[in-house]
Structure formats: structure tokens, C-alpha cells
Chain length 367, copies 2
């Protein structure tokens, strides 16, 4: 457990966006830098589906975070100037209340009795943390991937609080290709006999389904072009004991196996199902009946939309749509298409491409 | 069982390309049109991974075939002029010997004792059928998808027999993205507890794994763009009894479910594993150590390479590579990039785009 992690218990009932409620949910978060006296220098960061609130190391926790090269003194999210907040999404399993948490009303895990999760709930619960910290104006909301949709939900629902918005490799809503991929990932987990309709033994979870789902994830997070350069048709030297002739033979297969094993033990399967489903459900057009009416609810002073040309999960056409819509209501909107080859994951691994982009955004805020 | 289907038993030992052998394998095939006296008007058609030899209807079998609109009197593969042959791939389960067939030496199904299958074996066994029909010169070899690689193997290994080659949505070898997809499909089947390391009960096969694999197949056979137009974010009206909140909700999910249920009962899982694996293994560069040396073995008089811009499984860059390589050894080579939106499956469904292309090829043969 990260010693930098703070817990905020919302000691009342949280009503959920699509019905149901949670009694006294906990939100786990981390912060970096100092809140200034005017309390107007905060950056609220929303991560993708899988990460915890540990976006970067700190004195209290020296382990590297999921955006380590982006947050710190002199870095793009410069902790000498800004107070950075990252909340573990509601519904996740790294300290915030989710399906793997104990329901105080029953004393058992929520499992599938957890209400349907919406990214609106992720946004609103992050707003409770912001409020708890005494902040009533957030300098910049930043979201990556699913977090970009959570961030957009935040800006829609708390337009008086969100001043600026940076969306990275995200969208106004999921396309049917992405829905199909995520639906299949969920079905892989639900088809694992160990899932037991969500009632799995936490010590013996549906690892097989999770491993398959993670592999499909990796296939859609990266790009065909990257893998040509990285693996080609190279054979694997790192053979597991061959159970049958179909066991991994090419390097790309071993790579997927290693990545999947690393992930599968670390994430609760029911939490995964809820967050994945929430990603499919979010739709800006639900705000007033169309994308146009949705965009009109925003009251941003500045925005930056960044996309990657090789992304197949949140394709560049969706970034253009988001940028065009936001610029129709916020003149100071910039759109950047990065030519990285690592697909959707580029924002996590192509730091040399992303750092200057985020730096320039914050420089322009001070101009 | 199709009454148009003919069976040829090769009444000796077939040595397999990657080791092992089959005793007296059977090849199932169908033919359309008449072989002329010179025996020089035959077209040999190689299908993708899943179809049978029933490419088109005939007097003997009126059910529509998998390329129904392409083969017949006055159609692109014009049976008034040509003698069309389609062989069910060795290793498949529609009459030709494969892992689901009885091994004459044991009296039991081969299952995983079937030797490793290569597309070279698919090509060479089709050549046995050609020979059996008394043909020593094939006018045109046509292959689609995996069949394009089988057809290329045929042209490489029987250069004196193959006069012309048409490749549709195929490649010189699989890219790591496609290997990753197929490897994951195989793992879905192998992870199904009912697979039993290949020893499943034929009356109770690993349907769940097959269904998952087919869904991933459909995701890679079509295109994101098609699905935006076809489904958007439309909700499904055709709800199965909701077992839990994660059951299909969007139209695209119901579509995949329907397609997967249709397929899963019809194809033997072990046969699928063998053919899928063979698709990964094939590599033109194994002929002499490089693609260049491989191309040099061809002795074609004419070739046509057709690809589809929205194909993600056999992307257009691979079609260009194939066309450039063949044109370096065969001057009369044409390359066509079709702008269909139905991805890899376009050759099965966008007949209005494909018919004229194939028509023009055969017209040009007669000029």
C-alpha cells in the first residue's frame, strides 16, 4: 500500500448517475506540490481504466507512478507551480470504493450488487475530493483515455469549477469498434468458470479470462506498425514448457503473455467489468440530446486536445471531433495530432513526444 | 452433406511439409463448368480459413456457396469458358482429412496427433486433385485471405503448373498484429475447459471458446468505419434474457453474438487451431532466405493483386509489397486497391466492387 495515498470518506450517501447509491464511499487520492493561498493552482488528473492514484513518486512513496516523467519539479505538470491531484476512480480497486469493497450494509463485498457505474460518478466523486481540499476552482482538468471522458464529464457537470481542459487520446463517446472490443474483454472474464457470476473466491479469481482480456487490450493499445518494427516474425527464445504445439512461438506472443501475467493478478475482475462498461456508456450527446448541445454546456477558458495517429481504440477522427466541438464554444482551443507509432498507449510510453506538448500548454496559460 | 462434393482419396502416404505424414488422405472438392479438350481452361480457387469447397451452387447442389455471385455462367469466374475447381483445405473439416478425421492407423480421431499443418500441405494436396483430374497446366490460381497464401505456395511449388495468379486480400506472410490476433483466438479455444487438450467430446465441444474466437475474428474482419455507419451507438432490441448487467446492450454486441453462435457449432475446434496456426507459419521468405529469393521462384505469365484499404488483418501495405514483389518477376502484374469499407471481409460481401475487377482480369487474359 502506498504511504503517499490519502483516503477521503464521504460520510453520507452518494447517489449514482444511473440509479442506486453508495453509503459513505471512500476516495483514494494522491497529491504533489502545494496548494497556493488563492487555491487556484490545482491540476486534477484522471487516469485510464487500470491505474491507481499513484501517478508519480514523492517523498512519501518513491516507487515510480504511471505518469512518472510528467509530474514533478520542472516537469510538464510542474509541482513547483501547481498542486496536482490524482484520484483513484470510483469503482476501481486501489483504495476507492468499488465492487471489491465491503458494502457497509451487508458486511460482504458489493460484487455485482454495486450499482451501475457511470463516468459521471467517477467525475462527481473526484469533485467531492476537490471540495474536501477546499478548492472551488480547478486550474486544469487533464484526462487520458477513459480519464479524458471522466474529465469531460467533470467539465460538463462542474463548469464553474473547471477552468481549462486537456484531453489526451480520448473521445466524446465510444465508437462501436471500441464497444465491441471491450464487450468481448468482459465476456472473456464472464466466461471463465471461476468468475461464478461475480462471486469468485478473491484468492482464486478468473485469471484465465483476465489474461485473455488483457491480451486483447494490448492488441488494441498498441499499433500494427510498432510491432512490425519491434517483433517482425522473430521467434521467441523464452519458451514456457510447451503444453501443446500451439503454445507461444513468435516473440509477439511471448510479449503478450508476459504483459498479461503481470496485469492479471493486480486488478479485481469485477472492478474491471464495471469500469469497462462505464467507458461504453458515457456519451456527451446525453447532455441535451446531441453532441452540439453537450459541447454548449462547457464553460472552458482554454482547452488542448491531443491525439495519436496510430491509435485504433480512440482513433484520431474522434480527437478531431472533440477538438472541433470544444473550439466551437471555447476559442482558445488547440488540437495536436502526434505521429507516434505506439498507438493508444503512446501517452504512457512516448514521453519525448508528450512532454513538450503539455509543457507548452502550461506555458501558454501563463502568457 | 453436399451432393456436388467429390472425394479423392490419395491412396498412399502424404509427407507433410513440417514433418509427419498422413496415410491415404481424402480431399473433398467441387467443380463447375467443363474441362476443355486441351485441359488448359481450369481455375483453381483457394478459400479462406473457414469455408468448405462449396463456393457456388450447381445443378447437383442448389444451396448458395461462399462466392456464389462470382462463379457461374456469365459471371467473373465464367463457367461457360472455364472449369473451376475448389478444394476444401487439407486440415479442414468439410470432407478433406483433418484433425477431426479418423486416423486409419488407430481408428480414432487424429486430434492433436495430426501433424503440424502448413499452407504448403494445403497447396500440395490441392495439386494432387489437379493431377487426379488430368490437368497439368492451371490457367489461373485464385486465392482469398489465407487462400491467397495457399495459392502463392501453389505457384511457388508448382511453377510449371500455375500460369496466372490472382491474390485477394492476402500477403507474403503474416504480420505480428495478425499473429497476435490469431494466437489469442487459439488461446480462447484452448482455455475453454471443454477443450480438454484437444480431446473434447464432439457432441459437447468448447463452444464458449469458439464463440469468443469468432467474435474477435469478426472484429478484425470488418472495419471501425463500417460499424459507425451500420450500428453507431444504437441499442439492441433483441435482448437475450439478461443474466447480468453486462449482457449485450448495444446493437454491435448483439450482431457479434448472432454471428458467433451461427459459426461455432459448424466448425471443428481442432481443425480451426491447425488452420489458424498454418496461417501464422507461412512465410515466402523461407524460399531461399528472403522475400526477394521467394519471388524469384515464381514463373507466372500474369498476376493480379487486389487489396482493400480498410483491411486491418491483411493491411493494404502487405498487398503493395506482394504486388511489387510479383511485378519484379512478372511484368504483366496489376495491383488494385479497393476503397471498400467492409475491411478484410469485403471480398465476401462487396461483390459490386469485386466482380468487375475479376471480370477485367479474365478479359485481359483473352486479349
Amino acid at each position: 500500500m502506498s504511504s503517499a495515498r490519502k483516503l477521503f470518506v464521504y460520510d453520507t450517501v452518494l447517489r449514482m448517475h444511473r440509479g442506486g447509491q453508495l453509503q459513505s464511499p471512500t476516495l483514494a487520492f494522491e497529491t504533489w506540490g502545494e496548494l497556493n493561498e488563492a487555491k487556484d493552482n490545482s491540476i486534477l488528473l484522471f487516469g485510464g481504466l487500470s491505474p491507481s492514484a499513484h501517478a508519480a513518486s514523492s517523498a512519501a512513496d518513491s516507487s515510480p507512478g504511471w505518469w512518472e516523467e510528467m509530474i514533478g519539479s520542472g516537469l510538464p505538470l510542474d509541482t513547483d507551480q501547481y498542486f496536482v491531484i490524482c484520484v483513484n476512480s470510483l469503482g476501481s480497486c486501489f483504495g476507492s470504493t468499488g465492487p471489491a469493497s465491503i458494502d457497509p450494509e451487508t458486511g460482504d463485498r458489493y460484487r455485482l450488487s454495486f450499482p451501475i457505474l457511470a463516468l459521471e460518478d467517477v467525475a462527481d466523486s473526484a469533485c467531492l475530493v476537490v471540495d474536501h481540499l477546499g478548492i472551488d476552482s480547478v486550474h486544469t482538468v487533464i484526462g487520458c483515455s477513459m480519464g479524458g471522458m471522466s474529465g469531460l464529464a467533470f467539465c460538463l457537470r462542474h463548469p464553474d469549477i473547471a477552468q481549462r481542459f486537456v484531453s489526451i487520446s480520448s473521445a466524446t463517446r465510444a465508437l462501436p469498434f471500441s464497444i465491441a472490443v471491450r464487450s468481448l474483454q468482459r465476456e472473456m472474464i464472464r466466461s471463465d468458470p471461476k468468475w461464478l457470476k461475480g462471486d469468485y473466491d478473491p484468492g482464486d479469481p478468473p485469471i484465465t479470462g483476465q489474461r485473455l482480456a488483457r491480451k486483447l487490450g494490448m492488441i488494441t493499445y498498441r499499433s500494427a506498425e510498432e510491432w512490425v518494427q519491434r517483433f517482425g516474425r522473430e521467434r521467441s527464445t523464452d519458451h514456457p514448457l510447451a503444453e501443446d504445439q500451439f503454445v507461444a512461438e513468435f516473440s509477439v506472443e511471448s510479449y503478450l503473455e508476459n504483459r498479461a501475467r503481470h496485469f492479471s493478478g493486480a486488478f479485481d475482475p469485477n472492478c474491471y467489468l464495471y469500469l469497462s462498461h462505464a467507458s461504453d456508456l458515457f456519451d456527451l450527446a446525453e447532455y441535451g440530446g446531441s453532441l452540439e448541445s453537450g459541447f454548449k454546456r462547457l464553460q472552458l477558458h482554454q482547452a488542448l486536445i491531443v491525439g495519436v495517429s496510430s491509435d485504433i481504440l480512440f482513433p484520431i477522427v474522434q480527437q478531431r471531433e472533440l477538438a472541433a466541438g470544444i473550439s466551437s464554444v471555447c476559442e482558445n482551443t488547440k488540437f495536436l495530432e502526434l505521429d507516434c507509432i505506439r498507438g493508444h498507449d503512446s501517452f504512457l510510453v512516448e514521453m519525448d513526444a508528450f512532454r513538450p506538448v503539455i509543457c507548452r500548454f502550461f506555458e501558454s496559460c501563463r502568457e
